[in-house]
């Protein structure tokens, strides 16, 4: 067996644990064969050798009772288990665990859509339900509700929400739209949060907070429990939908568009998860880098201008949509158009103008909650494309946006990578996603990408920026940047970890939260 064992676990103990797991879920749902199954639990986009994140086994329970059984085995043997839902969190580690040898707790078989309530606009789902699954279900049943999906259709609703993912409709803040969850704690206790704490609750998916502390957030981006069910609010299908796109001819237009859009967002004239994407992000939907440039390093400005001309794109490209009855959309469009016309050289496009353009088509789908996989075209920008996402939060402020853009672009160019990024506008912030694209078959590119990412974390922290989400490799480094008052926040996380999971079995090291028995041992 060439796969690693969990730290501190002997082969005999591991074999016993596997046998006990097989007794819990059935032998066919405990995976130990590296070639047949475990390869699919590795991170294809790791900048390090993927053996750094190779699991020793995976176990796929079907029910809450089986999850409890798995955790009982883990407690007995102090077996570290790494929880995933659909395992498609690529760019942030995918299905792979933080350390080699962990056992992946794969919840893909828990894939029931438990409830959809059209009147109140919500669904209750298990972790194995993907955005595509829920979309298909709504379509098949003729239910007039929209989902808000992550860009890749195969992403899991529970997984994306619990990793603080974002989408593009007015329900784009996924955790904000989450209402109630069922959690299995490390000791096997099943907890219903919020109103679900009331037996036979009639409102567990309607009101988030219940009474007392609201704890749902504690189980997101953490390792305090295993989420086995989640309520998610869904948008009623609006009577009208009008997506639009604005191309901005100059790099410095990022400042103006950001400042112009903020009041429209705050006043909900633009209600959706609008975004501003750079030229190369949009270009990669339909062309590859080598079609324009076969030299070394980032695409030169002269070539960028040619690409923009050829594809009718801007240096930045703003996407948003209006929703609602036609009179309301008509009225809001007057406000939006008057605002956008303040940007010299900006061009406005609608569906009729760009239909058939892959970049437009997938954005227009996402802003109305139609899942697709088009964004993966980005990976073709470089041959054998892999990527990890550097994701700092920026203020929804023009100068702040430009500062972050320059910070990242300049470093990326220093390391011979293109800047490929977007700013997704939230309520008052922006998720700035820098897609660090590299050739995953090139050891040199992976090494440079890894170094660049680490430098960017430090650069951002020096300017007072933190990241909202990250890849396995950088969880500890980013956790260390949240170090106000001698890491008070992370020391609190550790206190909670030790109280809720004293054996340290649940996803050790997730977001830099280590159990006591492993603390300080990470490298």
């Amino acid at each position: 067996m060439d796969k690693p064992l969990p730290q501190g676990i002997s082969p005999a103990t591991f074999a016993s644990a596997i046998a006990e797991l097989q007794a819990v879920v059935g032998a066919e749902y405990v995976f130990t064969d590296d070639r047949a199954h475990l390869r699919s639990y590795r991170d294809a986009y790791s900048t390090l050798d993927d053996s750094n994140f190779a699991p020793s086994a995976a176990v796929a329970p079907k029910t809450v009772e089986e999850v409890q059984g798995v955790l009982a085995v883990a407690r007995t043997h102090q077996l570290p288990v790494w929880t995933i839902s659909t395992g498609k969190n690529f760019a942030y580690g995918g299905p792979a665990p933080r350390k080699p040898g962990y056992v992946v707790l794969d919840l893909k078989r828990m894939n029931r859509i438990i409830e959809v309530n059209e009147k109140h606009g919500y669904a209750v789902v298990e972790p194995g339900v993907s955005y595509q699954d829920l979309y298909n279900y709504l379509q098949e049943k003729g239910i007039k509700l929209w989902i808000d999906c992550a860009a890749p259709a195969w992403g899991g609703i529970v997984g994306n929400t619990s990793d603080h993912g974002a989408g593009y409709t007015p329900y784009g803040d996924h955790l904000l739209m989450q209402c109630g969850m069922e959690v299995v704690l490390a000791d096997g206790t099943v907890v219903e949060t919020g109103m679900g704490g009331v037996p036979n609750s009639k409102t567990s998916s309607l009101y988030k907070y219940g009474i007392g502390p609201w704890v749902d957030g504690l189980f997101t981006q953490s390792n305090f429990g295993v989420i086995t069910k989640m309520g998610i609010w869904l948008m009623h299908e609006p009577p009208g939908y009008m997506p639009f796109m604005v191309t901005l001819p100059r790099e410095e237009d990022l400042e103006l568009i950001t400042d112009l859009v903020l009041p429209l967002k705050l006043n909900m004239v633009i209600a959706n998860g609008a975004l501003t994407a750079d030229l190369l992000w949009e270009s990669a939907m339909s062309v590859t880098k080598r079609q324009y440039y076969t030299g070394k390093g980032p695409v030169p400005d002269s070539i960028r201008k040619k690409i923009a001309t050829d594809l009718k794109l801007g240096m930045w490209n703003f996407y948003a949509a209006l929703y609602g009855p036609q009179p309301i959309m008509d009225n809001n469009w007057k406000i939006v158009e008057a605002t956008l016309r303040q940007i010299p050289g900006a061009k406005i496009y609608f569906d009729a103008d760009r239909k058939g353009d892959p970049g437009w088509d997938y954005r227009a789908k996402l802003m109305r909650g139609i899942p697709n996989m088009t964004e993966f075209s980005l990976l073709n920008w470089v041959g054998g494309g892999g990527h990890i996402n550097f994701s700092p939060i920026s203020a929804a402020d023009g100068k702040d946006s430009m500062k972050q853009f320059h910070m990242i672009r300049d470093r990326a160019h220093e390391y011979d990578f293109d800047y490929i990024g977007e700013f997704l506008i939230g309520w008052r912030d922006q998720h700035h996603i820098f897609m660090l694209m590299f050739d995953r078959l090139s050891d040199d590119e992976k090494k440079r990408a890894h170094e660049l990412f680490g430098v960017l974390i430090d650069d951002a922290a020096k300017l007072g920026y933190g990241e909202y989400r990250t890849h396995l490799s950088f969880m500890d480094q980013i956790a260390d940047t949240y170090n106000y008052n001698d890491r008070a926040l992370w020391r609190m996380h550790e206190t909670l970890k030790d109280a809720l999971d004293p054996d340290g079995i649940l996803s050790p090291g997730k977001m830099g939260i280590w159990p006591e028995r492993m603390r300080g041992q990470q490298s």
């Binding site: 064969d33 047949a36 498609k88 595509q132 339909s286 590859t288 080598r290 996989m373 075209s377 494309g385």
Partner: protein
């Protein structure tokens, strides 16, 4: 995009083309008379991938192709792998489409049997091949000799690749590209098989 047919129908073509290439030595190992369910993907937007698909598909029309959104093919590959655990899936596609399809098939226990990248680097076309040891070098030689006809040669060699066993071995070959700039790009040819089917006798299931 997808075409399905029995391997049997292609072995004749395979021997005809492979006979003049580095694969000639492998003729005796080609699949004999077993129909194996197959599922084929090709990027319709790419000339080489279309040639590949047409060679495989003979004169039958292609229903469609992998478009810019591979979501439409995820259900198909999942269904195929679920219902044909003895089947073989292969394609000549963009790298991103391969990534998505490979991960979807992996959920059904299918794993990589063969992969090659076909990388147009300016004036050169570089084939980098990860294939079972017995066919790796002959395939590399054949691709080099095929020059511009490499997609057709590759399609014809699929039965031999499918039958080969052994650890994946990497080989690389470069030939002068004789293609226009519009064809410059990066394609991946690939083959997936159910891991536990490697040692099995080819099944008799036929898919038309």
């Amino acid at each position: 995009m997808l075409t399905r047919r029995a391997f049997l129908k292609t072995t004749v073509a395979a021997s005809a083309i492979a006979g003049s290439t580095g694969l000639a030595a492998l003729q005796s190992k080609r699949l004999e008379s077993h129909d194996i369910p197959t599922l084929v993907f090709a990027d319709e937007n790419n000339l080489q991938a279309t040639l590949f698909a047409n060679t495989w598909n003979g004169s039958a029309p292609l229903p469609s192709a992998t478009a810019r959104d591979v979501a439409g093919q995820m259900g198909e590959i999942d269904n195929f792998c679920r219902t044909h655990p003895d089947g073989i899936v292969f394609g000549l596609t963009r790298d991103s489409d391969f990534f998505v399809l490979e991960h979807t098939a992996a959920q059904r226990g299918f794993s990589l049997h063969y992969r090659a990248t076909h990388d147009f680097r300016g004036i050169a076309l570089v084939h980098e091949i990860d294939a079972p040891h017995p066919v790796a070098l002959p395939l590399s030689t054949s691709l080099q000799q095929a020059r511009a006809a490499w997609p057709q040669m590759l399609a014809s060699a699929l039965p031999l690749i499918a039958q080969a066993e052994g650890a994946l071995t990497r080989t690389q070959t470069a030939v002068a590209a004789t293609y226009s700039g519009a064809d410059s790009g990066y394609l991946v040819s690939w083959m997936l098989k159910a891991t536990n089917a490697h040692a099995q006798t080819p099944a008799r299931t036929s898919v038309s």
